[in-house]
Each structure stands twice: as C-alpha cells, then as structure tokens.
Amino acid sequence: MTVSATQSHSGVQVPPHHPLGHQVTRWIKTQLFPTPFQSCLSLITLVLLVWFTPLALDWLLFSATFVGDSKADCIGGGACWLPVTQRIELFVYGFYPDTEIWRVNIAFGLAAAILPLLYIKQIDRRWVLGYLIVLPFLMWWLLKGGVGLPEVSSTKFAGILVTVFLGVIGMLFALPMGVLLALGRRSNKPVIKLLSVLYIELVRSVPVITLLFMASLMIQLLFPEGMTIDIFLRVLIVLIMFTAAYMAETIRGGLQGMPSGQYEAAKALGFSYWKTMGLIILPQVLRNTIPPLLTQFIGLFKETTLVVVVGVLDVVGIAMSTTAAPEWLGLEHEVYLFLALFFFTICFTLSRYARHLEKQMEKSRS
C-alpha cells in the first residue's frame, strides 16, 4: 500500500481503475473475439450451446420422471430415472441383508475419511499411516463379518459396495507391494532386480482382462484339489498384483527424483539400507508421490469395473442386469448416464484433489 502510494507520488504511472462493465467488455473482447477467426468459432459454439443446453436440461431434469413404480409412469417425455431410483438400494448395497446395511455405511464412511486425513497437516503422519494399515482389515471385517458380527456371504456383495471395496482395499494392499517392487527394481542385487523387472514388465504388458481370466479359470488348477478360493478374493488378489506393478513404476520415479545427497547423508550417519529407506527416503518419496498415487487410484477405481467380465456383479454389472430386465427394457440411456455420472463425480473430484495437492507441493518447494 505504502509502496504504491510513494510510487504514484513520485510520478510513476499507476494503471487506471476501470469500472466493472468496462472490464467485462474488455474480457469478452480479448477472450472471445480477438480475431475474425476466433469470433466465428466463439459464435458457432455459443449458438450450439444456446440451442443444446435447454434441450439437455429439459430431458435430464424438467421433463424427467423421478417418482413412480414402473415404466408406465414415465409420461413426461424426458428421461425416465425410475430404473435408478427404484433400484437405488440394489445399486448401492447389492444383495446385502437389509438389517446389516449399517455396516456398509460405516465402511463407506471409513474409506471416505482417508481424504480429510491426507489433507489436514496437523495430524501426525504416523497416525495416518496406521489408519491406512488398519483400514483394509477393518473394512473386510465389517463387510464380511466374523468375530462378533454375523457373517455375510460374498455372493451377496454387489453394486457400488463391490466397486468401493475392491478399489480401496486393492489400493491399500498394492501400496506396500509396489514399494517393495520399486526397491527391488533399484536394488544392486542382480537376482532381485531381475525378478522385479520381469514381474513389473510382464504384468504391465498384458491387459487386465487376461489376468482376471487367469483368476477365474486358471488359479483353481494351480492349487491342491479341494482348496477353493472365493472368486471375490481371487479378483481382489489380481487387482492388487496388477496395481502393484504400475505403482512400482510411479514410486520408482519418486525414488529416482531423490537427490543423492539424501543417500550419502544417511550413509555418513552409518544407517543400514532398511533404515535409510524406511526413515529417510521412503517417507519423502511417498509424500511426493501422493498426487500420482491418487491418479493411480482413479485408474484402479475405473479398472475394477472389469470384474464384471468374470461374473462379479459390481455397479456396472447391476446396471447391465437392470437394462436387461424386462420391466426396464429400453431405458439404457438413463441407466448408463447415471453410471457415467457416478464415476465422473468420484474420479473428477479425486483428480481435482490430486491436482490441488500437487500445486500445494510445488508451492511449498519453491
């Protein structure tokens, strides 16, 4: 304040203050109509927007039917959201017993609590880490039952429950495995390095679907007779193995970005390999790689939808069975749009959040 005052007194020109209306017209002129070509583009897009937006809104909301019992109630001419609203319980909880639904809600809440934990700086990182380690076991216990809770068969799992469960648990188990693989790949022991490289490159070069086929058709052949593993668990293991390979590459990037001074300082202090990694390198690497790891989580979250191929009913499976049900035939646009919006909301929010964290880190570094 004082600086600008002194400058204006000493004769330096201060930019003139424009009224708001002038600013708006100037913005429109520079951003939308700078050249004839750009003006044409802007006009065409504006016309399309003005024509399309009311139509879309009308179909989506104003003429749409939200309340009713069957397809016959959809008379507004807009979207018929009844297959979603009527079946919302099925979409969210699958076939989970009605009396136990509170367990699913708690599990969702616990999973969602990760984000604020990552955000709030005041919490000791060790508590966050502890929470992340306990969480998958806690979720598993809540959903599957066992000690103290009535057991629920995993054939009852379906819908968003499966998607969230596979995504969160898969991610949290893949993280330690990814760290080990990344360390293995950078190890100076040839055998360990070779094994890690082989694993990472092999998994990364094949489609997830072949791995899922392996889980559903091949794994039974590899275990002794009579030993059967739940398909749900097999799919989860495949997702973990698959994500770990990709994660290893992300973490390797973080390890390569560490200045060598950190390693040298640790060596000078007489730290062993595991102490150097566990106390000095990995805490920094993991903190720096939170944004790419979140992006990886978005990827995993989208990949979980592939489990429908081997017969696990996730939210996509429920949607497909809804559109195939005779009473909701012909309403696939509404159902698939709901599905798309569901994934878009979650993945977009997470990607914005990752971007935000990244920007914060850049700021704190510079």
Partner: protein, 385 residues
C-alpha cells in the same frame, strides 16, 4: 572365522539372493506339481497340440477366410487380426479426436477451451466399459435393416452394423496398401533427393509433408486411372440382412468408437501438456521476430512439442491395444474372446490358452517398445549432437 565370512557384505548379499531365488523356485515347483496333478485328475490334455485340432466354432467377423472346420490356430490368427484391426482403427480415430480436443484446450478462445476441458474430463473419468456398453446400446437401437440409414446408397447403417460398398474381388485393400506405401516411399525419395542437392545440409524443407503428400496423392491418382475398371459390390437390402458389400458388425463399431473417444481424452491431455511445456520465451521470441500466430505454432511450437509427446502417445497406443480386449464384453471376437474365451472353454486347457494370449500381448508390447527405443535413440542423436 565363520562370523567374519557371514558379515562380509558380498557373501551376505549372495546369500540373500540365493534365498529369494530358492523361495521363488519352490513356489513355482509347488504350483507346477499341483497343476499337473489337477490336470491329470480332470483328464485335460496338456501341451499346444490342441492348436491343430478342429475349432468348431463360428466367428462372425473375420479378415481372413475362416470356417468352424478350421483349426484352433487359425481361430487364434483371426482373433489376433481382429484385435489389430480394431486397435489400428481406434488409434487413427483417437489421434484425430485427441489432437483436435487438445488444440481446442490450449486455444486462446476461452469458450472453446472450457468446453473441450469439460469434454476431456468427462471422457477420461468414465470407465471404458461404460463407454462401451453405452455405444453398444446405441448401435443396437439403430433402425433395422429395412429402415437402414443410407449414405448415397453406398453405405448403410442399421442395427446390423455398417455395411459399405467394396471392390468385389477383395483386392481393394491390397492395392490400397501398396499404393499408399508406394506413394510414401516415392515422396520420401523425391524430398531426400532434393535435400541432398542443397548447399546447406539439414536446412531444407521438412521431410514428413512430402511423405504424407505422396501417401495421399498416389492412391488418388491410382484410383482416378483405374477406378472405372473396378467392380463395386454395392450392398442390397435382403429381408433381414444385406447381400454384398462388407459389413462392420455393431460390436466392432461400438468397440471402435468407445476406444477412440476414451483414448482421445488421454491424447488430448498429452497434446496440451506438450504444447504448454514449450517455454514461454519461445512465444515471446517469435512475437519479437514478427511471426504471426499460425507460423509461430506450426514452425516453432509444434516441432518442439512433438518430441516429448512421442513416448507418452506410444504408451497410450499400447493401452488401446490392451484395452481392445474389452471386446469380450460385447462379444467382438478378438484375441481374448476367441482364444482366451471360446477355445479355452472348449478345450479346458486354461494354462496354455491364457499363456498364449499373454505371450502375444507381451510380444506386441516388446516390439513397440523396441521401435520406441530406436526412435528415441535417433531423436537424442539429433537433438544433442
């Protein structure tokens, strides 16, 4: 003495590696013995001998002749070609849409930038399988064959897919490919000759427009001179289907469009990132030298942005090839649904079938990364010498 040996770092390291190796070997041994015991118990054959047996299942869309009487090996080849076909089609389409969206995203036009940002975010944050089942639903909701949408009576779009006119003897593809490659080689030869004659080495016109022009002009010329003698096989509506022409089934179209739009969002982000990674000073220098907007982009920014783009775009292309395995969801007979699905179910030889499919994908990735590395090596020679 003993403790001295054990505490030697190199001995310790060797010991650790031996233990890891032993654990992995034992795990493999246990799995393999289990597998062979199970296979014997179930009475499943082993080995790849089944590839020579009769497949016995039909494939609705194929690039090479195939009938249920052919072998499993031929069915595998049909599946592989179908995978490659949908991948190539999607790569072309995804690149076009992706570059368009990416350029819109960095455009100075605020409205266009926002809109394409929204489109990119929507496309990439929705799982591919949702794109796919949606497009497939749209394809099946098209009018039936009798009311097919006609394009100049040469192509028909119906719920049976897209049926287009085709040269009747099937030589169209062969000659087309030959003339495109021949044109590209001709273009390269001409421009190389011209550049070699220049006084200042390395300062001639760029090479790729000449290659592109050759690849476009020569096929058109060939068509203009020989087109009249071609027999066009025009599709004709016959009750429930079309007679004549070539038919792209709805499964292929849905997979093609879904893959293209989904991957286009990734390509758009790569294009945007690379263009923005060119330093601000380059724009300012161009402006200072009096370059206007278009030449700045074409002659200065794009050539610099294209090199960091190449590895990322390659990995997106590889993802397209891998993601084409989603054909299994809609029943498009590509590698995974043919060999990993039907063949596996019929023979029960899960290990061999899945190994074959995985090995094929590994080979495709390896070849691509090899080409990529060669390209990178050449680029680094050019930029750092």
């Amino acid at each position: 003495m003993w403790t001295k040996i054990v505490h030697n770092a190199r001995v310790l390291s060797a010991l650790q590696q031996c233990i890891v190796l032993a654990v992995v070997a034992v795990a493999f041994y246990v799995l393999i013995t289990n597998a062979s015991a199970n296979i014997d118990a179930l009475g499943i054959a082993s080995g790849f001998g089944f590839l020579q047996e009769r497949a016995g299942y039909a494939i609705s869309f194929q690039l090479i002749d195939y009938s249920p009487n052919d072998t499993y090996l031929r069915a595998y080849a049909v599946g592989l070609l179908n995978t490659l076909l949908v991948s190539v089609l999607s790569i072309v389409f995804a690149t076009i849409i992706g570059v368009f969206l990416g350029v819109c995203r960095v455009s100075e036009n605020w409205l266009l930038g926002r809109l394409s940002h929204l489109a990119v975010e929507f496309l990439r944050n929705v799982p591919l399988i949702v794109h796919l089942i949606w497009w497939y639903g749209l394809m099946l909701a098209l009018p039936n064959v009798r009311q097919a949408i006609s394009f100049q009576d040469g192509a028909f779009l119906s719920n049976r897919g897209l049926t287009v006119a085709w040269a009747s003897d099937g030589s169209l593809v062969g000659w087309g490919v030959v003339s495109i490659i021949g044109g590209a080689v001709l273009g390269y030869a001409l421009i190389a000759r011209y550049r070699a004659g220049l006084q200042w080495k390395g300062f001639g016109p760029p090479v790729w427009p000449a290659i592109l022009a050759g690849a476009v002009v020569v096929p058109i010329l060939v068509y203009l001179f020989t087109g009249s003698s071609w027999q066009w096989d025009v599709p004709v509506s016959r009750g429930f289907g079309f007679a004549g022409g070539v038919n792209l089934p709805p499964e292929l179209l849905a997979l093609w469009l879904a893959l293209s739009f989904y991957s286009a969002s990734y390509i758009a982000e790569i294009v945007r990132g690379s263009i923005q990674s060119v330093s601000r000073g380059q724009y300012e220098a161009a402006r200072a030298l009096g370059f206007s907007e278009m030449p700045t982009m074409l002659r200065l920014i794009v050539p610099q942005a294209i090199y960091p783009m190449v590895p990322q775009v390659t990995s997106t292309y590889l993802n397209i090839i891998k993601n084409s395995s989603l054909g299994v969801v809609v029943g498009y007979m590509e590698l995974v649904s043919a060999t990993g699905g039907t063949t596996l179910n019929q023979t029960g030889q899960a290990i061999e079938c899945i190994a074959l499919v995985m090995a094929t994908y590994c080979a495709i990735s390896l070849i691509t990364s090899l080409l990529m590395n060669i390209y990178n090596y050449r680029i680094s020679l050019r930029t750092h010498s």
